[in-house]
């Protein structure tokens, strides 16, 4: 790692309002040089506005944008060492691929562009297509042109606005790896806006989850997934089972909870909410961390694990795993994903089961929040 910090992006108190509507609440964010940073959120959460303020396409209502030590808040986009890969690419339809890629160099008065453009087109494997017009290329190829057109300028920061949104699933996976490879190769800061949590988690070193114009949580993908701080993050990144529970007692580093008559244990360090005795918290557990045993084998469940009894309502076979929906006293609908290693033939809808998991995998959230925030139904509404 170099000590060069000219590719740092520092947002201080930056916010944007349109009339009475606040698109982005004042926020602070630092993206270190050379990192792959993702802004993740549902549409309308302010992530694209934030990106556009870094690009200079949107003037912030308050706050400042710094690139390294330079304050660029009031610089127009064409004076910022930042380039953008636009959603749906925005390739110039009247120019061929070569001229599209050469555009930035020519505008900066660079005369001999041929060698650079050809090298860049080779990097994205489009050397053969240089004289075609954008509409003659496939979606994936257009996407690569858009990346090449931005990267050729050696920006300090590359901004990507939902760059893979228009591609089909398979191509998207391929381009995710491709972008990650390019980022490692050129080593510049990437800021990537997406609504696809899987995309954000596979590509980025750091993810900022945005909701309603605010950053809900910031961290590495594993950190966000294992220790979500809000119900929105818990539901938006993957799936979470959230169980309402009452705080019963504290024993050492653990909190003992009561949920619908069952006893659950939660490490105090993994609870982001205040924990007064008698207070309420939401207990979270990821579906793949839960083990499922038939009620007849209840005695075989090891001691010291959180356990709930219930009945299987629904089972869907996915191939690599089976996804169960279990009804229990503590929670009406619990999702459980079981790897298909040895399938227990007794686990069919209607069967009584014991759910158990390690307390260390449990997390606790403030019960004052909307329990459904960030779920697919809520996002679609």
């Amino acid at each position: 790692m170099t000590t060069d910090n000219s590719g740092d992006v520092r947002l201080s108190g930056i916010g944007k309002t349109y009339g009475a509507f606040t698109a982005v609440h004042p926020l602070d964010l630092t993206v270190p040089q050379g990192s792959f940073f993702a802004l993740l959120g549902a549409s309308g959460c302010g992530k694209t506005t934030t990106l556009r303020m870094i690009a200079g396409l949107e003037e912030p209502t308050c706050g400042t944008v710094h690139l390294g030590d330079q304050n660029v808040t009031h610089l127009p986009p064409y004076k910022r060492p930042v380039n953008t890969v636009f959603q749906s690419y925005a390739l110039f339809p009247h120019l061929d691929i070569f001229e599209n890629v050469a555009f930035g160099l020519r505008r900066r008065g660079i005369k001999s562009v041929k060698k650079q453009v050809e090298e860049m087109l080779d990097l994205v494997q489009l050397g053969e297509q240089a004289r075609k017009k954008p509409h003659q290329l496939s979606g994936g190829q257009q996407q690569r042109v858009a990346v090449a057109r931005a990267l050729i300028n050696h920006p300090k920061v590359l901004l990507l606005d939902e760059p893979l949104g228009a591609l089909d699933l398979k191509l998207r996976r391929q381009m995710q790896l491709e972008l990650k490879r390019i980022q490692t190769e050129v080593g510049i800061t990437f800021i990537h806006v997406t609504h696809d949590q899987e995309e954000a988690m596979t590509m980025a070193d750091t993810v900022a989850v945005m909701n309603g114009g605010r950053v809900e949580q910031l961290g590495s993908p594993t950190d966000l997934y294992e220790n979500p701080g809000t119900t929105f993050v818990a539901n938006f990144l993957g799936t979470s089972n959230l169980i309402e529970a009452e705080i019963d007692a504290r024993s050492g580093d653990d909190i003992v909870l009561k949920a619908g008559g069952d006893k659950l244990v939660l490490p105090a360090a993994r609870c982001s909410a205040p924990t007064p005795a008698g207070g309420r918290v939401l207990v979270g557990i990821r579906p793949e961390k839960i083990s499922l045993a038939h009620a007849d084998d209840a005695g075989a469940v090891p001691e010291g694990r959180n356990r709930l009894t219930g009945r299987i309502v629904d089972a869907s076979f996915i191939g690599v795993s089976t996804q169960y929906v279990v009804e229990s006293r503590a929670c009406a609908e619990l999702s459980v994903y079981v790897q298909n290693v040895e399938r227990d033939a007794r686990l069919v809808p209607g069967a009584d089961v014991v759910l158990h998991w390690s307390p260390a995998h449990t997390f606790g959230l403030d019960a004052a929040q909307d329990i459904d925030a960030g779920t697919e139904e809520e996002v679609a509404a």
């Binding site: 200079g56 986009p77 380039n83 959603q87 925005a90």
Partner: protein, 266 residues
Amino acid sequence: MPVVNWLKRHLVVIAGVLTLAYLLLPNVIVTVFSFNKPKGRFNYQWQQFSLDAWKQPCGVADMCNSLSISLQIAVWATLGATVLGTMISFALVRYRFRARGAINSLIFLPMAMPEVVMAASLLTLFLNMGAQLGFWTILIAHVMFCLSFVVTAVKARVMSMDPRLEEAARDLYAGPVQTFLRVTLPIAAPGIAAGALLSFALSFDDFIITNFNAGSTVTFPMFVWGSAQRGTPVQINVIGTAMFLLAVVLVLVSMLINNRRNSQKA
């Protein structure tokens, strides 16, 4: 029934040929009669082949003068209407301002209004203002009715333009002027060209509005109309044929350029 079957199979071709014939027959007649040597003053009956008119296209008094006036007016009207119309289109699409809706509909009035009504009201206006009728009043009138056609053509183009293209240009180090010259203008160009072509054609052959507001100036359509009362010189057919051929050549050249460009790209 072999005849019916044959008809069925070739229906599209037959329809196409008939349509073309319908469209081109007047031009063919004009061309053929440009080689006529009429007896008397009217060129309505075929007499004998002659190149006289083609050798002396300006052999008729005042005709080439009127042609030159018409061409000048058409060029200036096209220029004026295209520049103004393009600016109006951008303003109407890009900006929200007071009276935008009113302007949007008013700009189409010249297209919708009967020409003779507009001609008469323009004349009233010019007379009340004490304007000297002639070249300038014709030009002003032509710019006005050409405007609505330019705005229609350019607006459609500007509206369908992705605003992100200009953002991309700004993001790629193009300042406002460069963005306009390198991205906005080239993308709007087909609409602007269509508007300009329409303007030229409409201005060149306009009769009604011109006739009302011309004063003593005589444009080519007015000359043709006037001479039709007294006898039609063959030279009128020569000019007509020349204009037609010029248009055909222009279309062919643009098609050739397009084809070559596409084959290079492929």
